[in-house]
Symmetry: C2
Subunit: 451 residues, 2 copies
């Protein structure tokens, strides 16, 4: 592989030109800006790497998906999942330079979308090009599935994957993002949590009314509070009957992976100004709970008067937004049904539940051969032990790949902890871009060898 790695170093300027070209093209899904143009630009970039491309219409009115494939020596296929959309650039005044004008200084490339995840798209393409240029062939077949709605929650991806199972058929998937930790170790992540997002609404009178009637007029804010307080107790135990039934305990190797992870809870506690974490957790116990426990979290509550000073009002409506982070093998529709049953059984038939979104959890076994390939090649390229993370605490549409397509799916990429993804001055370090590119080349090479 030395020749390929040298090629990547020697052609860095061209790769960065490609990346800056892609970054200059705004593609803000939340604002509907530059979607078609970016899909076409990405398609052209794939074609330049000899990849056969189709721009497929999104399912159900979704933004288009760029699909690409390139047959290699073996029918064994690696699928890259990426997205060409980016977060809105606002607040503009907090950027050091215009968000869609890439700048390079001190080894850092700054632009909206460069970390999340145009840098990964270009690193993957650069690796493929380098491999072909040096070796004259590709040992495995590759596919790309690059959607345009990740930053708005991938609302049409599950249906797209469902409808295109055959087209997307592959033996493994490289996830859209990943990177190194503060110590420069590559972080390889094997899953993500699921999600159920609901809004609970209590309604009583037809209109807000003077609070002197609180003697006799029911107050939906009280109803909501009593209902919410029935969901979780002060020891953080979620009280919905059967909520934990489907929770699959972590495997021994997942537990050991958490024990081996560098603990970062002290830094987080300090940065958040907290005296302690929930239940006084730290270190290994903190890691176990953070990765393997489901949550029931209040994202927002709204009722009545929230302005300055006092207003003596009895509100007619009260609402709470709640997200449940789910772990294997919980399912959002099952938790939703159990939530309804719980409320009914506790005398809260009047509380309405609107289900706003759901996502299944996803997990790839740590001992999957593909996972081992990703970790071994990471060790070689980064010359450091990779950090194996059994799952993110956050959520993504990963189950489309692990469950619908049934393939191992692993995260790796060019990011680093201070990349400011989603924030002003989003950036990557060029050294990470180079290593991430070489890591992809290593995976291409080794994944073929394992058969």
């Amino acid at each position: 592989m030395q020749g390929v790695y040298e090629y990547i170093d020697a052609h860095l300027e061209e790769s960065l030109e490609d990346l800056m070209h892609l970054c200059r093209q705004p593609s803000v899904s939340a604002q509907g800006i530059g979607i078609e143009e970016t899909a076409e630009l990405v398609a052209e970039m794939l074609q330049e790497c000899n990849i056969k491309v189709q721009i497929l219409p999104g399912v159900g009115g979704g933004y288009p998906v760029v699909y690409g494939e390139l047959a290699g020596d073996s029918p064994m296929t690696l699928l890259f999942y990426n997205h060409y959309d980016v977060q809105p650039p606002e607040p503009l005044e907090e950027w050091s330079s215009p968000p869609f004008e890439p700048t390079i200084s001190n080894g850092i490339l700054r632009c909206r979308g460069v970390a999340d995840n145009k840098g990964n798209i270009v690193a993957r393409l650069s690796a493929i090009r380098a491999y072909q240029a040096v070796k004259g062939h590709l040992p495995i077949s590759i596919k790309f599935c690059i959607e345009g709605e990740e930053e708005i929650g991938s609302p049409h991806l599950a249906a797209f994957v469902e409808q295109n199972r055959l087209l997307l058929k592959a033996d493994a998937c490289v996830w859209e993002g990943g990177g190194v930790n503060w110590q420069g170790q590559p972080v390889i992540t094997f899953g993500c949590k699921g999600l159920l997002y609901v809004e609970l609404v209590a309604r009583e009178a037809a209109r807000d009314i003077h609070s002197s009637t609180a003697t006799v007029v029911p107050n939906p804010a009280w109803r909501l509070i009593w209902a919410l307080s029935s969901l979780k107790d002060k020891d953080e135990k979620i009280l919905i009957d059967g909520f934990y039934d489907a929770v699959r305990p972590p495997t021994q190797s997942e537990v050991e992976a958490v024990r081996a992870m560098p603990s970062e809870d002290r830094e987080l506690k300090e940065s958040l100004g907290l005296k302690s974490f929930l239940l006084g957790l730290s270190g290994f116990e903190f890691g176990l709970r953070h990765l393997f426990d489901p949550t029931c979290n209040i994202c927002g509550i709204t009722s009545g008067y929230g302005g300055e000073g006092s207003k003596t009002v009895l509100p007619c409506v009260a609402g709470a937004k709640i997200d449940f982070r789910l772990v294997p093998d919980q399912r959002p529709e099952d938790v939703l049904a159990k939530l309804r049953e719980h409320l009914d059984r506790n005398g809260f038939e009047d509380i309405e539940i609107a289900s706003l979104s759901g996502e299944n959890p996803a997990r790839t076994p740590l001992d999957s051969p593909f996972g081992k390939v990703v970790c071994q090649t990471a060790r070689e390229v980064y010359e450091l032990d990779p950090v194996v993370v059994p799952t993110m605490a956050a959520t993504g549409p990963m189950s489309c790949f692990t469950d619908t397509l049934g393939i191992p799916t692993v995260c790796m990429g060019v990011e680093y902890p201070d990349d400011r993804a989603h924030a002003p001055d989003e950036n990557i370090r060029i050294t990470d871009f180079v290593k991430g590119t070489k890591h992809v080349a290593g995976i291409l090479d080794r994944f073929g060898q394992r058969v």
Copy 2:
């Protein structure tokens, strides 16, 4: 009194001219509009009735108070409490005519402030003028205390009355407002509830954070919900230790007064679109609870994301605004202390309490001689039995008079149920204005005779 009543009828045009003149002068305390001008105009109107006037500076930076006195045949003194300020006229587009241009049609005078309570100021002055014109003297002495901050919660009245006890010394007080019910019966009210308005605030992390950390990062919305749910149970029992200790049960005559009140709960239930009131109450039981029970009401809750759709956030702060309506002999400062103790005892030392306002409850005995005078003269003028109401469910600064000055205080006036006080198209019926004027004249006459 026939001559006085006839004089009032004969000089109605002049009284209405006075009222329209006063209404044309905006006096919006919340917006600081027209305060000085209105105080001077009111002072002039008092002087025209031979009343000696001083415009006293408000205490502690408050708006000025118009003080007036007129010695009569007896040192026995009746104090009129009124306010010259009005509610903001907004929303302007919902008025049928400009809010500060009085219009008369179909026996109705429409203008901001005409019901609340410039109509009462002018009715009281018209009665005094009529009595003097016809009888050539006043049987009792009178005083006026007309403040300019009632519509913003009378923040400086208590201190003003405290500092001017001697000046305001009187034997009884006529409250600023009152009127008739839908059947045209005069409603005579003998008290009001007190108030404690607080804001509870829970804080955790230094900033909002991604909700995937809900496994380990404390959520202030949960803390607030658990704290709130400890304050009141689903049977509407307030759980703060000692909360009910100071509650004085209603007297037998107060209970009988409620039994005699026409019950209006069915209309209210219909207008609010409610299936039932709290605890299924109606009729007499409804009335008892509504007038004699204290409340703990959530006026508003705010935390995290309240916009459209979903945002997966863990908020760093949560707040709830709560009003307690208090009954004799509860005191806001005592309830505040008990609330703090309750939270501490239940493990909520972290919940902050900001006290936004407090007001003592006030109650005048139904069998007070002054109350009897007001009821008897009402029966004579309205030719209908008055409705005796032991207390409003709402709050006002009445304890300044009942407790600080130690005098019986009773509500009567020119209002009616559809007067739209505080709302667009505020209005009074001219027939009510005439009867309210005659009722004041009757009180002036009879209050002197009772010695």
